[in-house]
């Protein structure tokens, strides 16, 4: 697999002609967005001024002006940048993925199926709405891998019967074939209780989590500090989580720089990296040639596709060959 620096080279050398074209498009687009946003903002202020008496009487009336205005603005914005986004994904993200491994398939519209997301059991809350994009799928060294951007939400109703949407998870969701056979369910979550309340009380709290299976205390202090493990089978959890895999998951966590949750269900590994934003989207207000922006695309792709090598998912045990 290509290294991050090789991919960065690819981004700046091979993709440079396309980047330049996109860059021109982006600048045009930016001025167009600004030329629409400024008058719209002014219009809002004027309308607000006209109804100042009503607003002074009831400040909540401001919402009647600004909610439709923001919603309309957001809709208009996504409409304006639609072509640019599509072109960016087709000309930059797709070649970048192909450069990592040309057997990988990319689709800018699809996402990992909701059933897989729910199967992972990483999140216990109900998922009422799921969206996502940038779906990548394929085989790496005979190991099936798929991932995409995911935004999973749940709905609550307030006393007035209005819907409220809460993000359950936003980030990259990766599903890969695992190199060992197993039958149970093992879930690894970021450790919050133990670091907040200390070992003894934190452990006790974790063991009382009714939504989860049995607590599994791992015999690696470093791993225990970062993660908490729940499983329906104490022995199997340790069969999956060998000392080497625990070490590798720690390295992966460090590399990702974001909270990660992992689960092992039905011979598959599921990894959720909570970036809390939509990834692989082109920037409108920053140059695509900016190193920081380029690095984000490259690094995230490298991280997700790299798990097969990183976690040695391609080294299958005898029984799985």
């Amino acid at each position: 697999m290509k290294s991050i620096s090789e991919l960065t080279d690819f981004y700046y050398k091979d993709l440079y002609p396309e980047l330049q074209k996109l860059e021109k498009q982006r600048e045009k687009l930016r001025s167009r967005v600004i030329s629409i946003a400024v008058p719209a903002g002014l219009l809002g202020l004027i309308v607000a001024y006209m109804f100042r008496d009503a607003i002074a009487l009831e400040p909540m009336n401001l919402l009647f002006i600004f909610i439709p205005l923001t919603a309309g603005g957001a809709f208009l914005y996504s409409y304006l940048i639609k072509d640019y986004v599509e072109e960016f994904k087709f000309k930059i993200i797709r070649p970048l993925i192909k450069a990592i491994d040309d057997r990988l398939e990319y689709s800018s519209q699809n996402h990992v199926r909701q059933t897989l997301f729910e199967r992972s059991s990483i999140f216990t809350s109900r998922i009422d709405r799921m969206s996502g994009n940038d779906y990548v799928q394929g085989m790496i060294d005979d190991t099936k891998l798929e991932f995409s951007d995911i935004h999973a939400e749940k709905r609550t109703k307030d006393s007035k019967g209005n819907d409220h949407w809460h993000t359950v998870f936003q980030g990259i969701f990766i599903v890969g074939e695992f190199n060992k056979n197993f039958y149970g369910r093992t879930v690894i979550l970021p450790d919050s209780a133990q670091s907040t309340f200390g070992d003894l009380f934190g452990n006790w709290l974790q063991s009382k989590n009714m939504q989860r299976d049995e607590l599994v205390k791992m015999d690696s202090p470093d791993f225990e500090k970062e993660f908490v493990v729940y499983s329906d089978n104490q022995v199997e959890a340790r069969y999956i989580l060998s000392h080497t895999l625990m070490q590798k998951l720690l390295t992966f966590k460090k590399k990702s720089e974001h909270p990660i949750s992992v689960s092992f269900v039905q011979n598959h590994i599921h990894i959720a990296v909570a970036y809390n934003k939509d990834l692989f989207e082109p920037s409108v207000f920053h140059s695509l040639l900016k190193y920081k922006i380029a690095m984000e695309y490259v690094k995230t792709l490298h991280l997700a596709i790299g798990i097969v090598e990183e976690l040695k998912l391609n080294q299958k045990l005898w029984s799985k060959r």
Binding site: V216, K217, D219, Q234, V235, E236, Y239, S242, L317, W318
Partner: protein, 185 residues
């Protein structure tokens, strides 16, 4: 009157909780030992095949092969205590790894498909045993902690619970792989 009744109820509840948690910990140890035992049996079942596959070639390692066979016979005896099984397991692990290292010296044997298959099955069982051992050690640690810590230690004393032994990690497993040595062979 009512305060003393409340205190009494609280004490009874605390005693019941302590008793239950001790029983749960003891049962957890026994449960997990059962799965260690299953994995150990799986390994013992592989041994006759392994011995018959390699004995033709290994003329100089007769001692190792008889040791393995003897250990298996010992493990088959009824009424073995858990501690005995733990001891047998560690002997078995080192004897088997001795055989595996010797196999490397016979190119014919190394290329033999049957032996290769056995080697892979063994290493997989070995991995499952390692997992079961780690689970057992954690369960025993929780149990032994409860036996020594206040306040459950008084209750455990009254119930006559005895501390259990953990599996010791085999020295060869703990050692780092010496890459230089690997290239020299």
């Amino acid at each position: 009157m009512s305060t003393s009744l409340i205190i009494l109820i609280v004490i009874v509840i605390a005693l019941v909780l302590m008793y239950n948690s001790l029983v749960a910990k003891k049962n957890q140890v026994d449960n997990i030992f059962a799965s260690v035992d299953t994995q150990l049996k799986k390994r013992y079942d592989l041994i006759p095949n392994l011995v018959s596959a390699v004995q033709e070639y290994m003329k100089h390692e007769k001692g190792l092969l008889t040791e393995v066979t003897e250990l298996r016979a010992q493990a088959g005896k009824p009424n073995l205590s858990d501690a005995d099984k733990i001891k047998l397991d560690s002997k078995m692990s080192s004897a088997l790894s001795g055989i595996m290292i010797s196999v490397e010296a016979y190119p014919d044997l190394k290329a033999n498909e049957n032996v290769m298959h056995l080697q892979h099955s063994l290493s997989e069982v070995e991995e499952q045993i390692a997992a079961a051992r780690r689970a057992y050690n954690q369960a025993v640690t929780d149990y032994n902690n409860a036996l020594e810590m206040i306040p459950t230690n008084f209750m455990a004393n009254a119930m006559n619970y005895q501390p259990r032994e953990v599996f010791e990690i085999v020295e060869s497993e703990r050692k780092n792989v010496n890459v230089k040595e690997l290239f020299n062979t």
